[in-house]
Amino acid sequence: MREDGPAICDGKNYIIIKGSFMKLAKLKTQKQCQLGRASVDVAGLLGHPVGTQFRLHSGGGKQRLMRPEPVEHTEDLADAIAADESAADNRNLLANQTSQAMTKERIMEMREQGATGKEIVTTIVDNSTNLRVDSLSQLLTACSVRPGGRYLVLESGCLAVTVAAVLERLGGHGHLVHLFQGGTPQRHAVDAINFTSDQLACLSCLDLRTLMTHHPADPTASAPAYTRTRCEDSELALNMLSSKEMDGLLLCCRQHPVNLLRYLLRFLAVSRPFAVFCPYKEPLLECYFAMKAEGCIMLKVTETWLRNYQVLPERTHPEINMSGGGGYILSGFKVDRSLNRAPVTD
């Protein structure tokens, strides 16, 4: 029995970590859990506390199911290397890595409040989008995302990662309009997190075409919305946007952002920030000048650079640079220049 905290349950989403391998999976007793080449017997995982570390033992049977056993002391591979003096020798290190005793598995529930942006990006995304977790983190602060705020997010091609991240930061307070273009909005990341219905109620999806034309959404559209019908969602989103007082605008899409930014800026309140992510710098340079012409201030184009380090006794050094592919961000503030028609100088 545990003192507090949830237990691993059948039918819920979890993040499974094996060494540096991370996977998002729904655990079902009828199915095995595939971890690379190993198949794990799910029944052995259920009921244990979230965050438990398991050791895998080779099981019998035709399917070669591995049997998980909860372990008392959690160990990192790095711990074991650090403790093992013979690991100073390269050959021994290699041998240790392949030995069965070194294989550990740990299961961590994506908590009921939702997984973090980091986990969403690294597990679901898996190099299939160009939005890294460090860029996502910067987007959230560039727009000062806060509970109770009202945010407009136009996202495509990021599997709803930005939407999920903002929704997590709202925590059931405030509102998020997810603007999408044509078809149905992506929802992978939002679905993967076990958001409560209160949290999902903060989210409404709106087709860009509906916003521009005010023609109601197609009621026969295939994918249902989260807590409302597609029509109700559109109506709610349109109402929210009609006041043109959104607290933040976030753009993260495959299309060139400049037209979208020019059009969507009108929904942002004054003294509120916007942030645009783009895998390429050049479109953001155009956006910079477009926003300058609109009178925006504090315009900034940045890129974030992350470097990981291996920290071990006598063996501390940086790991591979991740400077490529992180993308760029343009941020700025909308202001009201109607008082004084002074020219834009800075």
Binding site: G5, P49, S137, P147, L299
Partner: protein, 315 residues
């Protein structure tokens, strides 16, 4: 008062971010009077390069509008933790937004999170944490410097976020957090963070949690990682985050016209090229974004780790 939630208009007691230009941004507390250096109360007048501003005139203005002054104008912006980080009075070296952003994400902070922070410093990170964990979370922040701890507490109160934070004067490395199994996350920005690790473990919930230690020096990082492993923390990750800003300009470059050979001035077939022969040049405007000449090269190393849930024998 305007840190708690967004407002549309300036009220007395608010903190307003006055934007003159990119190098001139100031946080101003809106009061009628202010204490001068001699300790006397004088009218609150803020001097800028564009003239003087009677601060009380800001009351009733819409946030985001222009503020007229004698020789120019500025913008009155609504405060955010990010703008506060750029304008707050430095009592210590502070954390800036690129690092703060990573900390908020990697510590998995969200509304309702309970966080321990040591040291409070100038409250840069504290304001960002408070914004992220409100309205149901709580921040316990500690500093071993009595005056800094007190000033931070006063600021939190003046900013309307006092209910979400407990600021204490305490040396957590020597005395611990005096908290047991309450925190979802612990953040350490200390000279000797490794000494605080066992106390951090005690403060974290039994169902597990996250920890982050920020250190400028690699030796501190090594000792901290050592201590984290010894106390059962896992998923250790050390990284540094840098933000590079681009100078965005429209540059004009001249372009040689190479479509035709240069005109030859001599008439008698002399093959020497004419001295006057010139390539035709046309100017072309290009959009450029080049890195600023100086950029921050290092702030500190961020080390993250997870405390797994406590296992009991009867599971």
């Amino acid at each position: 008062m305007s840190f708690k939630e967004y407002k549309t208009h300036v009220e007395m007691g608010d903190t307003v971010i006055l934007y003159l230009n990119i190098k001139n941004i100031h946080a101003i507390t809106v009061t009628e009077e202010v204490k001068n250096k001699k300790g006397n109360m004088v009218p609150n007048i803020f001097q800028t390069v564009y003239g003087a501003l009677k601060v009380k005139d800001l009351v009733g203005m819409k946030y985001g509008s222009q503020v007229q002054m004698t020789r120019g104008w500025a913008f009155a912006l609504h405060p955010t933790p990010e703008l506060w980080t750029l304008t707050l009075p430095h009592r210590t070296q502070i954390l800036y937004t690129p690092d703060i952003s990573i900390v908020l994400t990697q510590l998995e902070l969200r509304p309702g999170s309970v966080v321990c922070e040591a040291g409070t410093g100038s409250g840069s990170l504290s304001h960002a944490i408070l914004r992220t964990i409100a309205p149901t979370g709580h921040l316990h922040t500690f500093d071993f410097h009595e005056q800094r701890s007190r000033l931070a507490a006063e600021e939190f109160s003046a900013h309307g976020v006092g209910d979400y934070v407990t600021a204490r004067h305490r040396d957590v490395c020597g005395e611990g957090f005096d908290l047991d199994s309450v925190a979802d996350a612990v953040f350490l920005d200390l000279p000797r963070p490794y000494d605080a690790v066992p106390f951090a473990k005690q403060a974290l919930k039994k169902s597990g949690g996250r920890i982050c230690s920020f250190s400028p020096c690699i030796e501190q990082v090594q000792k901290t990682c050592d201590s984290l492993r010894k106390h059962g923390f896992t998923e250790l990750q050390t990284l540094e985050c840098l933000q590079r800003e681009f100078q965005v300009r429209k540059s004009v470059m001249s372009v040689f016209d190479l479509s035709q050979p240069p005109t030859d001035g001599s008439a008698d077939g002399d093959e020497r090229p004419s001295k006057k022969a010139a390539m035709e040049e046309r100017p072309r405007e290009v959009l450029t974004g080049i890195p600023l000449t100086t950029m921050p090269g290092h702030t500190g190393f961020l080390t993250f780790a997870t405390l797994p849930p406590v296992m009991t024998s009867a599971t």
